[in-house]
């Protein structure tokens, strides 16, 4: 399954997009940045594929800085039993 993560240079921009998306009724989840996307840690936004165009538009209009929208083949598995 492909998941879409918006990555940011800092959390301020991440939270700005989060708030804008909520105001526009778009679903998103704050998540730790997946290692497959970047070695830097911090927040990313897990978003839906069908919302990507609208997200890009918000980013442009509101001048929110993002690094990229990463497409990640992600297998979230609650039974993997790999903790940290």
């Amino acid at each position: 399954m492909i998941s879409y993560y918006v990555l940011f240079p800092n959390h301020d921009n991440g939270m700005r997009l989060y708030r804008e998306m909520k105001e526009n009724g778009l679903k998103c989840t704050i998540a730790p940045t997946p290692r497959e996307a970047s070695k830097c840690c911090g927040i990313s936004l897990l978003v839906k594929k069908e919302d990507l165009d609208q997200i890009r538009q918000i980013v442009k209009e509101k001048q929110i800085e993002i690094l990229q929208i990463a497409e990640i083949k992600k297998d979230i598995d609650p039974n993997r039993d790999r903790y940290c």
């Binding site: 990555l7 940011f8 240079p9 800092n10 959390h11 991440g14 939270m15 989060y18 989840t29 704050i30 998540a31 730790p32 940045t33 997946p34 290692r35 970047s38 070695k39 830097c40 840690c41 911090g42 927040i43 990313s44 897990l46 690094l67 992600k74 979230i76 598995d77 609650p78 039974n79 993997r80 039993d81 790999r82 903790y83 940290c84």
Partner: protein, 424 residues
Amino acid sequence: MADYHQMWKDLGMDVETHDQLCEVLPQAFGDVYLSQENRPEGMDYYNFVVAEIHGVRPAELIEHQKKGGKVFGTFCVYVPDEIVFAADAIATGLCGGSQFWVPGGEKVLPTNTCPLIKASVGARLDRTCPFFRIADMYVGETTCDGKKKAWEILAEDVPVHVMDLPQMKREKDIKAWADEIRIFRGVVEEMTGNQVTAESLHNAIVLINNKRRALSRLYDLRKNEKLPISGKDALLISQIAFYDDPTRFTEMTNKLCDELDQRVKDGVSVFLEGTKRIMLTGTPLAIPNWKLHNLIETSGGAVVCEEMCTGTRYFERLVDEAEGTVDEQIDHLAERYMGINCACFTPNSARIDDIIRLAKEYKVDGIIDVNLKFCSLYDCEGYHVEKALKEAGIPVLGIETDYTDSDAQQLRTRISAFIEMLNS
């Protein structure tokens, strides 16, 4: 996705080794938390805190230090944060909940020491946690033998003040704890250069009580038949309570509870009807120890309450908010904190009463008595806990575990069998 490497280097951290922890956290968090259906939207705040766990809050603490403020690291729910905040300092929990830090602790401690102590010592000595680097002073206490010796080892590397917690609950013991708090006040005042006044202590008592009220409100919502939030989400909130800014934490937790109130009104549950309600009792689950909750909630159970330091022991009962002299308020602190029931006390029958009471309040179907490996206090007390629960007709499963993944499958089998038994 900020780059905190420079901040970590400035703190003297072993950034390369620390990176190994950063590598596993996103997947573990994704598996345990982002796999859930219908999570409350308010959990996004706690996702944020975890995603920025070694970034945002450490940066805030460093900012506080740049302005001349001090940071005190604590390891136990008996240490009164109120004294620290009353001196314009910040208290932050330092308990280690990851296997990542354990080998570092084993370099100086016997292997048969509990993982919480080994992880806490390892996080400091291996220089792999920013919170352990930032704290100007550690505040230890005498709740167990392993910790007492750990403070001596840590004191070679960082200033440590140890509070002598009485191990009985007679009137003279409560007075003795009040005296310890007075000594602690002096230590904090000397370290910070700030006075604890009647007004600042009163404000700090209200500040921390408000955090307790928010957590109490969250836990009350878990008493509902239809559970508006999972046990693992509630655990995460409890864990974050130890190190987040108390004002912000209280605000965000109350905001989440508003959402949960609405869920209760709408009859929304995050579990299927008939899911067995499990309460955990025993040793604490420090962040990022999510193993047991995840195992239970992926094996047909719902965790509805934790009679643990990362649970009811942390927030139940408020400190008397009556204004008075510093001495009078310290007596109120001692009364509240000595009401916590930890296995380090003898006798400790009030803890058994707590467990039975909580089992009724949260309408539990079964209890899992959890013991962190090598914690002889809680292990020994398990005899009385399990005996009392059997007499009360409450099914109980005793589990001993550590921070490793190696027993996960075996635990899953045992937990599944226990829940199956509750279903039959």
